[in-house]
């Protein structure tokens, strides 16, 4: 069966749905005008209902409408609300807009060219289309069994490829196909209440994690559990039966028929990238999180195929819906301004020159050489996510100040309210040395002066087109200099997350930033007198190395011909002898490792190991010699540092027990912490006052678990946020709600949508999802109005999602809003609780 349409939209998530609604509205107008007689669009969805990703959210989840400053432009409606309400609304939107949709229509291949694409569906049908909108999101599609009978509609709800809630099933005979972690986890969870058979194609479980492997083997061997396994067995055919399913399988001893109630196939998934590449669409880089290359109208490298939504690199529902609308307008030749056009007007409102945003964007991009080659869409999104700074002098500052106030007021009146630029006086600082900020700055106009605080260092003057702030971005360490704005200076300040995404997807930008990082590191450590131009050649001879936790940089007793400057992460130095391995030091980012090899003693005295993910700049002997010959001003400092190191390392070596404590701390990831709760067990009386204080000062939910967490030598690392240098939790936060305060605390703001990604990413279990409570009632208002209806904290309320309070991620914020410092530490009567940085560890250990 073949169907021909003008626009085929693949995927009915927010992006695809909104695109289909726009296409349907356009069709309706043309039908009313008598131009066409039937719709010319089709929406193809692989699932049996619209928006699979949203369907798969947990029941009752409160869906947030972030980013707050962006307004919605779509023929479908969307606002913050419960998952159920939103899905219901979209069903209505589909009918109201007259969208032509086909469910269970997975597109498996796309061939052809603009004007004549051919889409092959899983069931063998073909759809031909002039243009294609790809809105398939990032979740991918599960791999199927591919056996006879699988497509039988009688079995549709008995053969499943995912399992949302194992508690749903009770007393069934269930066959789980697969040997990966998700198959094993499902099988184990189901076996509590059901009879489970696992089908494994191989003779052993080799793909599973250690913990799952042990649990499954134990369950299989335990005769009391209702779980067994068929090895070297392949699914062969399916057949519906009055009594359930007859599932034929090929075992090593011949064909067998299993009679069961349900089949759960967990065979992994097809990530969307493979599919998209098979169509011929190019990606910006090899990195996993790279997005497809698109032009300013979302058209991919295959003309006629457009990409929108999370697949295009925009992680939120509202953005996806706006793009769906815009892309259909573009396809119809209507070059509308994107919904974020206004946002840019506000952002640019304080600039000394007045021009349309698109022109300014172009100008900005031309001024910054590193970005001149960037895709226009990507640059646009970068500016939208950034803040524009303007520094002015005297009278023009005063004039603009009025203007800024008006602009801020105008912005505040909008719902939602957009960001406006930042105005400062020339000569004021942009950030201070020691601030924990990690944003990235580009100079579009004027100049900026970087003041280092060491006596020897001269201030550095930067001009239009240059950038700064890359060091904290890369190392996660506090700022090392104060940046002062010159007159008439215009800056773009880009948040860390936006930059990281760009670095991961754009090699040119990454190389540019790496290069300047290296030049500045060389300048700082070895050659303060040389200019970046003079350092260029030597910087090119260095190497950037990455080490996973536990990987060695070099080994003891080997001859060394290079030193390392730690760019991010932490390194432990270890000395091995007959008595065993002994940790003698741990070094943080911005420190040198192995410099002794270039200053006298070529044989390494220690083994250097990365204690967390670490990156170093490797400087070889020749280059080092060249550097110190060109600029000898820092030699005496380097030598003094080397001898101090040698002395401390040797003292540590004499104290074996102390080394093992450092070793333990590093093994537990303290190398990347900036502020961790360390409890001295020889003082802790277990009164849990620390937890009570935390709960009392933080909406009734303690963000600290005192008794859990690892201990060693009477030091206990309680479970609580460590405010990591490179917070893992920030990795895929869709609304970018996790930030680092200037003073270093990592905190989550109100825009959290409760997706739980940070909970998964934090290796230290420091984040939990909890209901954010209503404000606490005072005794007085309690007397006046009576007791609150519900206890507000941590209670699961079925209708909570609908009533407006969803679960959000909560974690320790190091009491950044309290003048007295952390409440937990203050509440401890015995002095057992302290919050420490790894730098204090050596002190701590020396005290022991």
């Amino acid at each position: 069966m073949t169907l021909h349409v003008h626009i085929a939209i693949i995927g009915s998530g927010p992006a695809g749905l909104s695109a289909a609604a726009r296409a349907a509205q356009r069709d309706r107008a043309r039908m009313e005008a008598g131009e066409i007689s039937e719709p010319t669009h089709i929406l193809l969805e692989s699932f049996s209902q619209p928006a699979k990703t949203i369907q798969r959210y947990q029941k009752g989840k409160f869906v947030m409408a972030e980013p707050g400053f962006l307004h919605l432009r779509s023929d479908c409606e969307f606002g913050a609300g419960s998952r159920e309400a939103i899905l219901e609304q979209w069903q209505e939107d589909i009918a109201r807009n007259g969208i032509k949709v086909r469910y269970q229509a997975e597109v498996q291949a796309i061939t052809g060219e603009r004007g004549n694409f051919s889409l092959a569906l899983a069931n063998g049908d073909v759809v031909t289309a002039e243009v294609v909108i790809l809105a398939i999101g990032l979740e991918g599609n599960p791999r199927k069994l591919n056996i006879a009978g699988e497509g039988d509609s009688a079995l549709a709800d008995r053969v499943q490829y995912t399992l949302d809630d194992p508690e749903e099933f009770n007393g069934e005979r269930i066959v789980v196909v697969g040997a990966g972690d998700s198959a094993l986890e499902n099988a184990l969870a189901l076996s509590k209440k059901n009879h489970v058979t696992v089908i494994n194609r191989r003779a052993e479980f080799s793909r599973a994690k250690e913990a799952n492997l042990n649990a499954i083997l134990q369950a299989i061997n335990d005769r009391r559990t209702t779980l067994d396994c068929l090895y070297e067995t392949n699914p062969a055919a399916l057949e519906a039966d009055d009594d359930g399913i007859n599932f034929a399988v090929e075992t090593p001893t011949g064909r067998k028929v299993l009679s069961c109630d349900r089949i759960i196939a967990r065979l992994g998934g097809f990530p969307p990238r493979k599919f998209i590449e098979s169509i011929g669409i190019e990606f910006s880089s090899e990195a996993i999180d790279a997005a497809p290359i698109l032009n300013g109208q979302y058209e991919s490298s295959v003309p006629g195929i457009y990409v929108v939504g999370s697949l295009a690199g925009y992680p939120l529902i509202k953005q996806a819906m706006n793009q769906g609308y815009d892309v259909v307008e573009y396809i119809h030749g209507n070059d509308i301004k994107p919904a974020d056009h206004e946002l840019l007007e506000f952002q640019f409102g304080l600039l000394p020159y007045r021009r349309p945003p698109d022109e300014l964007l172009h100008l900005f991009q031309q001024r910054i050489p590193m970005f001149s080659q960037l895709n226009v869409l990507v640059f646009r999104q970068l500016v939208i996510e950034s803040s524009i700074w303007v520094a002015l002098e005297g009278p023009s500052f005063e004039n603009t100040k009025k203007q800024a106030a008006e602009l801020a007021e105008a912005a505040a009146q909008r719902q939602p309210s957009p960001k406006t630029g930042k105005l400062i006086r020339a000569g004021e600082s942009i950030f201070q040395r020691g601030d924990y900020t990690n944003t990235f700055f580009m100079i579009v106009d004027g100049e900026v002066i970087l003041e280092r605080h060491e006596q020897s260092a001269k201030p550095v003057r930067l001009e239009r087109g240059q950038f700064f702030g890359e060091d904290s971005l890369v190392s996660g360490r506090p700022r090392e200099y104060t940046a002062v704005a010159g007159s008439d200076c215009v800056l773009v300040e880009t948040p860390r997350r936006t930059m990281i995404k760009l670095l991961n997807s754009n090699d040119q930008v990454r190389r540019g930033i790496d290069w300047i990082f290296t030049v500045r590191a060389l300048q700082k450590h070895f050659a303060p007198e040389l200019s970046p131009g003079e350092l260029r050649e030597i910087a090119q001879t260095t190497q950037l190395n990455t080490y996973q936790a536990g990987e060695p940089l070099f080994r003891q007793d080997q001859e060394g011909d290079c030193l390392h400057v730690i760019r991010r992460g932490a390194v432990t130095l270890q000395r091995s002898s007959e008595e065993g391995d002994l940790v003698v030091a741990q070094l943080q980012a911005d420190e040198l490792v192995g410099e002794m090899a270039l200053m006298g003693e070529p044989v390494r005295r220690h083994t250097a190991k990365a204690s967390v993910l670490t990156e170093t700049i490797v400087l070889h002997r020749d280059s080092f010699m060249k550097l110190v010959n060109l600029d000898s001003s820092s030699i005496s400092q380097l030598q003094a540092r080397a001898s101090k190191h040698a002395r401390t390392y040797t003292t540590m070596q004499a104290q074996a027990d102390k080394g093992s404590l450092i070793g333990f701390m590093m093994g537990e990831g303290m190398g990347e912490a900036t502020n961790a709760m360390v409890i001295d067990e020889s003082l802790c009386i277990g009164c849990d006052h620390c937890e009570k204080a935390c709960a009392d000062t933080h909406d009734g939910i303690s963000r600290l678990n005192r008794s859990e967490g690892p201990s060693f030598a009477q030091m206990h690392l309680a479970i609580s946020c460590r405010h990591c240098e490179h917070p893992h939790c920030m990795k895929d936060c869709p609304p970018d709600a996790i930030h680092r305060a200037e003073s270093g605390e990592v905190f989550i703001d109100d825009s959290c949508i409760g997706c739980g990604n940070c909970v998964t990413h934090c290796p230290y279990d420091a984040i939990q999802l909890a209901h954010t409570p209503q404000p606490r009632q005072s005794l007085f208002s309690w007397l006046l109005k009576g007791a609150p209806d519900k206890l507000s904290i941590g209670r699961e309320d079925a209708d909570q999602g609908a009533s407006g309070a969803g679960k959000k991620a909560v974690k320790c914020d190091a009491c950044m809003n309290f003048a007295n410092g952390p409440a937990c530490v203050n509440a401890c009567p015995t002095g057992a609780a302290a919050r420490l940085a790894p730098e204090h560890l050596v002190k701590l250990v020396a005290k022991q």
């Binding site: 335990d222 067990e681 020889s682 802790c684 008794s707 060693f712 009491c815 009567p829 302290a834 919050r835």
Partner: protein, 297 residues
């Protein structure tokens, strides 16, 4: 950022010096009594000492409030001062009373105060000593982890025992069922172990006898299992019992650790049950003491 310091070391024992000064001041004041009036609470020196004592007691009591006003003050500093100044109270008030003890409300207040102070000393001793012992006893595990290990051992033990002779299996089962950890306050404090086990033995007449016996410290069951090893007949049975023996021995260690941990935890709390109620009683007696003094003035 501060490193760990104990209550007594807090800021190099700053409040200890305050307390010492207070005591010296009190002694000097006491020494200034002249011959006309023998020292007692009624002299002007006595009044000053009494007022200091009263102020101190009221202030010491406020620790209970400060402790619960989270995020506002540094409780360790308060506790450190509480301990040193609380101890100095003993001298100040003894001088105030000039040790004129009798059977009256005044002396009652004095005795109550002594109880509070000495219970404070006991608490301080516990605070200084037990956390260290507890940490050593738990060996880098938490109490929850110990309980979950015990749980695992119980399961493993039962599974192994199932494959042995029914008498042995039933002994192990009952030993697990009847293992007592915790219990009433007294049991917790003394670390008493009321565990029992039911053994099935042949009596002299050849009949079967089920006998619950004490299984203190898991000794009985360990002995019982060990005795079964050489008597094993079936193939592989001895090895099985050997593994079972390892499990019951490991259970002994874990139950010991748990009992110790519970005991220490109980000690760390129980002294406050004396300290706080007696503080309240002291405040009541003190009020009567002051009222009566002014009444008879």
């Amino acid at each position: 950022m501060k490193l760990h310091q104990s209550i007594l070391e807090y800021r190099k024992g700053r409040y200890g010096w305050w307390a010492l000064l207070l005591i010296l001041g009190a002694i000097v004041l006491f020494g200034s009594h002249n011959d006309f009036q023998p020292p007692n609470g009624g002299t002007w020196q006595g009044y000053i000492l009494g007022s200091i004592g009263l102020a101190l007691i009221v202030w010491l009591t406020t620790l209970g409030i400060v402790k619960r006003r989270y995020g506002k003050s540094n409780v360790q500093a308060w506790t450190s001062a509480h301990v040193y100044l609380g101890a100095s109270l003993l001298i100040v008030v003894s001088l105030h009373s000039a040790l004129q003890i009798g059977l009256n409300v005044h002396s009652l207040a004095y005795v109550l105060m002594c109880v509070v102070i000495f219970s404070g000393f006991v608490g301080l001793y516990f605070y200084r000593r037990y956390p260290h012992l507890m940490a050593r006893n738990r060996r880098n595990l938490s109490q929850r982890q110990l309980f979950s290990e015990l749980n695992d051992l119980n399961q493993k033990g039962r599974a192994l025992a199932k494959r042995c002779h029914p008498n042995l299996a039933s002994a192990v089962d009952t030993a697990i069922d009847r293992t007592a950890i915790g219990g009433g306050l007294l049991d917790q404090l003394l670390g008493r172990d009321g565990s029992t086990v039911v053994l099935i033995e042949k009596d002299k007449k050849g009949g079967v006898q089920r006998r619950p016996v004490s299984n203190r410290d898991q000794q009985t069951i360990i002995g019982y299992v060990a005795k079964c090893i050489p008597r094993a007949r079936k193939q592989g049975e001895a090895a099985n019992i050997q593994s079972l023996l390892e499990v019951v021995c490991r259970r002994q260690t874990v139950t010991r650790q748990l009992r110790q941990d519970i005991k220490f935890n109980a000690c760390l709390k129980v002294w406050l049950w004396v300290h706080v109620p007696f503080t309240i009683a002291l405040l009541a007696a003190l009020t009567i003491h002051i009222l009566s003094v002014f009444y008879y003035w």
